[in-house]
């Protein structure tokens, strides 16, 4: 019954006459410093003043306000409460605790006095700001979303002047009606509804949240919203939301943290945080500051952040350990305004991501110089594929752009069955090659001239790079002593640290760490018994030694799909030393696309930002702890990751465990602090903080689920399972997640009516779809056509890609190009492109007379239908008709018409948003490569597995058993 009720109560207050508490809470989150006192002003503990405004219930104002003045509505405080992070244990319709202090365990009694009308409550703020809020609300709210479900449909058109009640006659915007099984009665019924119904309980009200609208999956075909999926934002008080980190940098799979571990267990969903700490960022999103003193908690050493509370003028309370700290002298003094008690100038209190320039206490030794050591396989396959030439050329072009200061050092080592050192001492006129062929106990010739200062020896390095490709042209050996080369490189870099770049083209089959060919895994695959654990720990041991000496090993592995290179084993050298793994299964210098890809990726790799000798510590509010770690690093302590090098293309993920009840807290905080040496030789600390509300209400917890982050962590947990158990186990675990989550939702929330159907709340409705795409992902598919190395690389990518890149990798985006128009691609100024509508990955979305673009994470395909009208072909490709499109087309020409320009803009936008090169390939409907494209239509039955509806009915059968 509840689900069909109109969601009025939560909205009631917003239209009431300005009762202090209600008005206050419906107001938009004010821009910082505009109408709220600056952060410093919040220092006095509520209640009722202070910065303890209840979170603005956007839902409140947006879900259906009945006309103002309805007599029989429940009292305003009740309405307000549904949007609040509930007070511990308080389920009742008590007045909301407006004074809930941030991070203070609220007092036991829940009945806080209402704020006095004149106080902080900002009751006088004009309602005209409301529309602003609704328009921005589309991005700001998890719980308190605007009526549009944040995942579904475009935000409602801007409606600036009309009264709210008129604006939303229905709580569900047109686009969502087909998704939601709950159809609301017309708006006109609301007042009468309110008159006849008794006030709802808190639980019932929470059920009205847009994210919780039940969705019957079997009846809804078009489940994917056309707008690209966005991360919902946590429902924090307004002034805190605006300070939150970019979800791409730091986000959690649940935007409301369960108060106890039993609640979490009930939901059967993972709780994890994703961090992309070293994302290339503009100064605006991560300002660099150099304060005289870095303020940290004296007990837990957490950095001060926007979410701490100031208990009085002299003290602040840490939001990790809740201990009170003294505010340092002069911290309150604002040099700009010349006033005391004003902290508004502190950047670290305004931004959740800041970068400190660290003083000398943060160094155990002087910051190291940038050190780049390249070790290159020169066995026959490497020379034959032309890799050596491509690499030397790219490095030569970018030699002056290697990040570093005047102390930058480089060195080279090539290896086949012997090790070739290059003496690059600046006193020499020519690079000198030194060959060591006894690998049992390698002796390093002239250890001081192998790693040289780049500036002093630049000419020699250039000479070497020019000569290197010519030196091995008569190479016929296929032996490759990677193990010995790594050992030597580690010894050379030992005193300094730095980065080792490995270019490997064949199975390392000689000397220490030699690997053997393994049986291809087809038979294991058939029995679901595939496991991808390493066959030796030789490389892992090297990685640990490197990690201890601040050395990272990055791997570039070149191979062809049929050649086994045992990536599972050699990738461990990068995995535990925080290196990156690149795998090019089809590289040959004669092939255009792969060569371009290698060149671009190498260029990006050589010139991108880099941090040396870094560690990252992740602090959580007491009661939470890190459980499992996913990514490339070595875990040195319960919360400390050792990252000899940190690069901007890696994301990290940690599962969380709830050790103690969090019921006493209204919010919890996470803080990732990355201490590193920049390539300019500065010690820096990048601090990201994330603050999330705690809830013990299952509806709120369900509404706060960030499905994108959840999917990503499920993928990572699946990869762990393949490594420790088998592929079959991992696949079962993924499928079980869907079943368990649905079952849990049924028993926790769903009414009896919904329980018989296959329903999920709106926040979770894409879970089966994403799980299906995971099951078809190269890492998890049963398709025997994918051999072991590409599989391992797919797993590496799942573990290391930053969240947003990973999501495209899991569920590609399909756009219709022939229907592109300015309306849906250009933003208001007509300059920036915004994403056009996204289509579901199903053949039924394709048409024979259309052109489609698919962005599958690693590249792009353009699919051209057979019956595409010649004018469209002419517009897009500049060719006369379909037949004129060549078999291999890797770039589309820019034509002088709006459509072509839009397409080029879209492609440019996609490319520039990615860290690696995105090759483009045009695929004709009748071409031989059509399967490449077809296989990405994940919702259909492909050779990788079942269709979406088969999966759904399978799960439904299991559920009804």
């Amino acid at each position: 019954v509840q689900s069909t009720l109109p969601p009025h109560p939560s909205s009631v207050q917003s239209t009431l006459p300005p009762h202090p508490s209600s008005v206050q809470s419906t107001l938009p989150p004010p821009p910082i410093g505009q109408s709220f006192p600056p952060p410093g002003g919040h220092s006095h503990p509520p209640p009722p003043g202070g910065h303890s405004l209840p979170p603005p219930p956007a839902g409140g104002q947006s879900i259906l306000p009945p006309p103002p003045g309805s007599q029989s509505l429940p009292p305003p405080p009740a309405g307000g409460q549904s949007m609040l992070p509930p007070p511990p244990g308080g389920q009742s319709i008590l007045p909301p605790p407006p004074g809930a202090q941030l991070f203070h365990p609220p007092p036991a009694g829940q009945s806080f006095p209402l704020p006095p009308p004149g106080g902080q409550s900002s009751g006088a703020r004009p309602m005209t700001q409301g529309p602003q809020y609704t328009s921005s609300g589309g991005m700001t709210s998890g719980l308190v979303g605007p009526p549009t479900m944040s995942l579904v449909g475009p935000p409602p058109p801007s409606h600036s002047q009309a009264p709210l009640a008129q604006r939303y006659p229905h709580s569900v915007p047109p686009g969502t009606s087909e998704v939601s099984t709950t159809n609301y009665p017309p708006g006109s019924q609301y007042p009468s509804y309110g008159q006849t119904q008794p006030p709802l309980t808190l639980m019932q009200k929470q059920l009205q949240l847009p994210e919780l609208q039940p969705v019957n999956l079997l009846e809804n075909r078009n489940i994917l919203p056309t707008q690209p999926l966005e991360h919902p934002l946590p429902s924090l008080p307004g002034h805190l939301v605006s300070r939150g980190p970019d979800p791409g940098v730091f986000c959690c799979s649940m935007n409301s943290i369960p108060a106890t571990s039993s609640l979490l267990n009930k939901m059967k969903l993972p709780l994890a945080i994703h961090i992309h700490p070293f994302k290339d960022s503009k100064a605006k999103s991560c300002p660099v500051i150099n304060p005289s003193v870095i303020v940290r908690c004296r007990v837990c050493r957490a950095y001060i952040n926007p979410y701490v509370s100031f208990t009085d003028a002299r003290h602040w309370r840490c939001n990790m350990c809740f201990r009170t700290n003294i505010v340092p002298e002069d911290y309150d003094y604002n040099p700009h305004s010349g006033k005391r008690g004003d902290r508004s100038h502190h950047t670290e209190l305004k931004h959740s991501s800041v970068e400190y320039i660290a003083p000398s206490e943060y160094m155990v030794r002087p910051p190291q110089p940038s050190v780049y050591f390249f070790i290159i396989d020169v066995s026959y396959p490497a020379v034959e594929s032309g890799l050596l030439g491509v690499f030397c050329r790219t490095l030569l072009d970018n030699l002056s752009r290697l990040p570093g200061d005047g102390r930058t050092m480089v060195g080279f080592l090539t290896y086949d069955h012997a090790l070739h050192f290059y003496n690059l001492k600046s006193s020499q006129t020519q690079p000198q090659m030194l060959v060591v062929s006894d690998l049992s106990d390698v002796f390093i010739p002239s250890p001081h001239s192998l790693l040289v200062n780049l500036r002093e020896s630049k000419e020699l390095v250039k000479n070497l790079l020019e000569d290197l490709p010519k030196m091995f042209t008569d190479q016929r050996g296929i032996q490759s002593a990677l193990g010995a080369a790594l050992q030597v490189a580690e010894k050379l870099l030992h005193p300094i640290g730095g980065r080792i770049t490995v270019l490997q083209s064949t199975l390392p089959n000689y000397g220490p760490g030699a690997l053997k060919m393994k049986e291809t895994s087809t038979s294991a695959l058939k029995k679901d018994q595939l496991s991808t654990s390493a066959s030796t720990d030789f490389y892992k041991k090297i990685a640990l030694e490197c990690s201890a000496q601040q050395i990272a090993v990055d791997l570039f592995v070149f191979s062809n799909p049929t050649q086994f290179i045992d990536l599972a084993t050699i990738s461990t050298v990068a995995k535990y030393s925080s290196g990156q793994i690149h795998y090019y299964p089809d590289f040959h210098h004669t092939k255009e696309i792969p060569t371009k890809r290698v060149e671009r990726d190498l260029k990006r790799y050589l010139t991108r930002n880099i941090g040396f000798e870094s560690v990252m510590r992740i602090r959580c509010t007491e009661g939470l702890s890190l459980h499992t770690f996913h990514g490339n690093f070595f875990v040195r302590s319960t919360d400390l990751l050792s990252l000899p090098n940190v690069n901007p293309d890696h994301g990290y993920c940690m599962n969380l465990a709830i050790d103690e009840s969090l019921k006493d807290y209204s919010m919890v905080c996470f803080q990732a602090a990355l201490l590193y040496t920049s390539y300019r030789g500065e010690r820096r600390i990048r601090v990201h903080s994330l603050c999330l509300p705690v809830s013990d209400q299952l509806p709120q917890l369900y509404a706060g689920i960030n499905l994108l982050a959840t999917t990503a962590v499920l993928a990572k947990m699946g990869v762990d399972r393949v490594t420790t158990a088998t592929l079959g186990d991992a696949r079962d675990a993924l499928l079980n997640t869907v079943q368990d989550a649905t079952k849990a939702y049924r028993s926790n929330i769903a009414s009896s009516m919904q329980a018989s159907q296959f329903t999920l709340p709106s926040s979770l409705k894409l879970l089966p779809l994403f799980c299906l795409s995971l099951l078809k992902h190269p890492a998890f598919t049963l398709n025997a056509g994918i051999s072991i190395d590409p599989r391992v690389q797919a797993m590496n990518l799942i573990l290391t890609l930053p969240l947003n890149y990973l999501l495209v990798n899991i569920y590609p985006r399909l756009y219709a190009l022939h229907t592109l128009s300015d309306k849906d691609t250009l933003d208001r100024e007509g300059e920036d492109i915004v994403s056009p509508p996204v289509l579901q990955l199903s053949a039924e979305k394709l048409s024979r007379n259309g052109v489609f673009l698919m962005d599958y994470g690693k590249g792009m395909y353009i699919w051209v239908g057979k019956e595409t009208p010649p004018p469209t072909i002419k517009q897009i490709f500049g060719l006369l008709h379909f037949g004129a499109i060549p078999e291999l087309m890797c770039e589309i020409p820019l034509q002088d018409n709006p459509l072509s320009k839009l397409i080029k803009m879209l492609i440019y936008q996609i490319r520039s948003s990615r860290q690696h090169f995105m090759p483009l390939q045009v695929i004709r409907e009748d071409g031989p490569q059509r399967l490449l494209f077809i296989n990405y239509l994940l919702e259909d039955k492909t050779e990788d597995g079942t269709s979406y509806y088969e999966l759904l009915s399978h799960v439904a059968r299991q559920l009804n058993k």
């Binding site: 654990s533 390493a534 066959s535 030796t536 720990d537 030789f538 892992k540 041991k541 640990l544 201890a548 535990y576 702890s625 890190l626 459980h627 499992t628 770690f629 070595f634 875990v635 040195r636 302590s637 319960t638 400390l640 465990a657």
Partner: protein, 156 residues
């Protein structure tokens, strides 16, 4: 004469007594190893020790511990103490299973420094430590009892 006295004494006390004395001493040794194991796990949890240290320290102890335990089990079997043998056999089985299931590694031992920080593993190690500690304590009491019985039988 002294030598004769000693052999007489040994003969008088009987083999039972000495077997259980030996087994008991070994059990005390194993008990201390478990205490050490638990201390290490605790230090690792509380950030006093890094995973590489932890693993190398405990890996050194793995084979001695398993070996000693197998030794006493076989000794008990050899002397036909069926009950005490049956008491120990499951743990031998567990040790064999544990060693076969160890991660890929070239050295001896079962701890891989790259995964020990995993919370699931940490909980497992401390639970394993406590259970085995309890097992060795009970074993110790059983051996002590058996030894006393053997002594009493021999002396009466």
């Amino acid at each position: 004469i002294e030598y004769n006295n000693l052999t007489n004494c040994v003969k008088m006390l009987g083999a039972d007594f000495f077997v259980f004395l030996l087994v008991m001493v070994i059990a005390i040794g194993l008990l201390f190893m478990m205490v050490w194991h638990l201390i290490m796990v605790d230090e690792l949890k509380n950030d006093y020790r890094n995973p590489v240290d932890f693993s190398s320290n405990l890996n050194m102890l793995i084979l001695p511990e398993y070996g000693l335990h197998v030794f006493i089990t076989l000794l008990l079997l050899g002397f036909g103490y069926w009950f005490t043998f049956a008491w120990n056999a499951p743990l031998v089985g567990y040790h064999v299973w544990r060693y076969l299931k160890r991660p890929t590694m070239s050295g001896i031992g079962v701890y891989d420094p790259t995964v020990v920080m995993n919370r699931t593993n940490l909980t497992f190690y401390s639970r394993e430590g406590f259970i085995k500690l309890g097992f060795y304590v009970i074993s110790f009491l059983i051996y002590l009892y058996n030894m006393m019985v053997a002594l009493v039988v021999a002396l009466t």
